[in-house]
């Protein structure tokens, strides 16, 4: 009996020591440029984030093989934030205070970005957020390489209304991303003379949609905007297909992030339109020309390193672009000093990436994009009926955000714009 207890005690103490040991044996840094990366390798968002992590690694590997930058190699310091906002905060501090990184990349959900933004601002830490999101972040320390609503919706909603009709119904996740995106949709529909025949916001925890489907059928819209987020809400597509809803759908989130068209059994996403700034199929759908070549080249290099990647999504292109933009700016600044790099980034720096040129807007710190309209058909085959080149992130600049002139640390929305 006694012995049993002692064994237990020993095994427990050993496990604590094991953890401590692991902590202490972490590699010590040499003379490198340190890139901190905070991404959700595990947890709810990992599905869309893992290709993104691999894209960072690809970019770093390529740059290091080409001799690094300013004679230094790039070094990644990465933590798994477990799709947990508190972990983002813990590790953002760790990157800044302990690892003393030169720049931080990462964040998937808007909440995780907002969780670490105050920490970045407090420490004047240069930070790249490389995700499509609801837009509006006007922050001196933050650069965004993902697409924003003015890029995804001004194209998508207008096109859909022209093709299918002016009655639009929105279902959206009931939190910031969904609400703000829906606001954009509402505004664009109104500007184009359309009508919102319905709008429903759905908590993230809801996975059953029978009632929502009936409500949509009652309203008889021409276009259904589905701004749904997360695995639970993604169940909507299967359920609407099973119920035979049959209304053309449009969104800014699916396909380009979590490749639902590959994961779901057809015809769950039948007749869905998405605006993305990149997806893996670009070079397969577009048979020739610059977009074909760039994408083909990118995918080949990516797959050489990660042959088993299930899908190369638009956020991996954004991540790849971000590292390259940063390196270009460091070269231009001739230093990793964060203020100098920021100023270099504000000179209208650009990078010719997997989907064409991404140019940083000095006013808003957001990137311009090529926007592809992706159509998913009955068999989940992908078509690209329309390409918009060089779409600017115009809204923040027009609304009065000019970070090259005046520091700011806020997030704005159309209904809550910067004070002029």
């Amino acid at each position: 009996m006694e012995k049993k207890m002692i064994n237990k005690a020993i095994s427990f103490i050993l496990s604590i020591f094991f953890a401590t040991f692991l902590m202490l044996t972490q590699a010590q840094a040499g003379d490198t440029i340190k890139l901190g990366i905070l991404e959700d390798e595990t947890g709810n968002f990992s599905i869309a984030v893992i290709p993104k992590i691999h894209a960072y690694e690809l970019a770093v590997k390529e740059i290091n093989e080409a001799g690094g930058v300013l004679g230094k190699q790039l070094e990644i310091v990465r933590y798994d934030t477990q799709s947990d906002n508190t972990r983002f905060q813990e590790f953002a501090r760790r990157l800044i205070k302990k690892d003393k990184v030169d720049v931080i990349f990462g964040g998937f959900s808007s909440a995780s970005r907002e969780a670490i933004r105050p920490i970045m601002d407090k420490n004047n830490q240069l930070y790249f957020y490389n995700n499509q999101y609801e837009g509006g972040v006007c922050d001196s320390n933050v650069f965004v390489t993902g697409a924003v609503p003015e890029q995804q919706f001004s194209t998508l909603v207008t096109w859909m209304m022209e093709k299918y009709g002016k009655n639009v119904y929105t279902i959206a996740a009931d939190y910031n991303f969904g609400q703000i995106s829906a606001e954009w949709v509402r505004q664009i529909v109104k500007e184009n003379g359309g009508t919102m025949v319905g709008e429903e916001f759905i908590p993230l925890s809801v996975s059953q949609y029978s009632q929502t489907i009936q409500k949509i059928q009652k309203a008889k819209p021409d276009v259904l905007m589905t701004l749904l987020v997360g695995a639970k809400q993604a169940s909507f597509y299967e359920q609407q297909a099973a119920a035979g809803l049959g209304i053309p759908m449009a969104t800014s989130v699916n396909v380009g992030q979590a490749y639902e068209h590959r994961r779901f059994q057809p015809p769950a996403l039948e007749n869905m339109y998405v605006t993305v700034n990149y997806i893996e199929e670009v070079h397969e759908v577009i048979k020739s020309g610059k977009f074909h070549d760039k994408s083909k080249d990118f995918v080949a290099r990516f797959r050489a390193l990660y042959p088993n990647e299930p899908y190369i999504n638009m956020e991996s292109a954004n991540a790849y672009n971000a590292i390259n933009l940063y390196v270009k700016a460091v070269k231009k600044a001739g230093s990793v000093d964060m203020v100098k790099v920021r100023r270099a980034l504000e000179t209208g720096i650009s990078f010719d990436g997997p989907s064409g040129v991404v140019k940083i807007d000095p006013k808003s710190h957001h990137g311009s994009h090529t926007i592809f309209l992706v159509h998913v058909d009955k068999g989940h085959e992908v078509k690209i009926p329309k390409i918009w080149e060089n779409i600017e992130p115009y809204w923040l600049g027009e609304a009065g955000c000019d970070l090259s002139k005046k520091d700011d640390y806020s997030q704005y929305t159309p209904s809550n714009p910067p004070k002029q």
Binding site: T42, Q211, Q214
Partner: protein, 286 residues
């Protein structure tokens, strides 16, 4: 007519979701007082078992049976390794089952990746007035009530049911009458696990197949079982019926968020004013 059918469909759809969410938990928590926070993961196991075997080429009903079987085996192993040591410690069961749920969902992520290709809802859809309906969902409604009836017979009319109810009411007296109490517990737990697996198997064709899919059921499951009261098989149907119609009604007049909040409020009020749950109400009525 169409409207009436529509209302009946919506309400019974919501009720059957609550019923199927709760059914495995009703056995494990309702009868054995194990607060099983890993209930969602049991559902996940059933769902993955179904999807994986279906992808290997088994027809869907067979694959679903496999999913259930896998969950039963999974439940059996857990009972042997962990659960049997925490009978009679309902509050500690929170911690152990929480641990189990972390292990399972993360293991699924490691083994199967963040998502696997799901299944398509079988059967088709049909039109009625402005509305169209999924035939599979209507089948689900019938299946959920059928399972409940079968379960009623299993626990109320079968020989095993007699043993199980006796053991759960008075374990010591039962053992003194020759009932192998430990075995009854193990089997009951496996039935609960199997039912959770069945829920996963039945719902997975309508859902995204991710390791966290079981979490979608857990809140509905707990609120239904607790408001059902001490005799879950008597109380579950009225509890689910009340909560389901209440939520559907509020969602209909307002929207889904208010519907969810309303559901939780209803639970709070039911526990406050009906402390013995719906089964207590029914017994009183008798």
């Amino acid at each position: 007519m169409v409207l009436l059918f529509n209302i009946i469909f919506q309400v019974s759809d919501a009720i059957s979701f609550l019923l199927l969410s709760a059914i495995g938990l009703a056995v494990i928590f309702g009868m054995m007082r194990i607060i099983n926070l890993a209930h969602g993961e049991f559902i996940t196991v059933g769902a993955y078992g179904t999807v994986v075997t279906a992808k290997m080429g088994l027809p869907l009903p067979m694959a679903m049976a496999c999913g259930v079987l896998v969950t039963i085996i999974f439940g059996f192993i857990l009972e042997r390794l962990i659960i049997r040591y925490i009978y009679g410690r309902p509050l500690d069961s929170v911690v152990a089952t929480w641990g189990i749920s972390l292990i399972v969902s993360q293991s699924f992520l490691i083994i199967f990746g963040p998502s696997i290709e799901g299944l398509k809802s079988p059967l088709g859809s049909f039109q009625m007035g402005d509305y169209s309906f999924s035939e599979y969902r209507i089948l689900l409604i019938f299946i959920s009530f059928l399972i409940l009836v079968l379960l009623y017979f299993l626990f109320m009319k079968s020989r095993f049911g007699t043993l199980a109810r006796a053991t759960i009411e008075k374990p010591i007296t039962s053992s003194a009458l020759g009932v192998d109490v430990q075995k009854v517990y193990t089997i009951t737990f496996c039935i609960g696990a199997g039912l959770a697996g069945l829920t996963g198997a039945l719902y997975i064709p309508t859902m995204t197949c991710v390791p966290s899919l079981g979490q979608a059921f857990i809140v509905s499951a707990f609120v239904s079982v607790v408001t059902a009261g001490a005799s879950p098989f008597i109380g579950l149907v009225p509890a689910a019926a009340f909560l389901g119609s209440f939520q559907t009604g509020i969602t209909f007049f307002y929207h889904a968020t208010i519907g969810l909040i309303g559901l939780l409020f209803a639970v709070i009020m039911i526990i406050r004013f009906l402390p013995s749950g719906f089964s207590g109400l029914i017994k009183k009525g008798k």
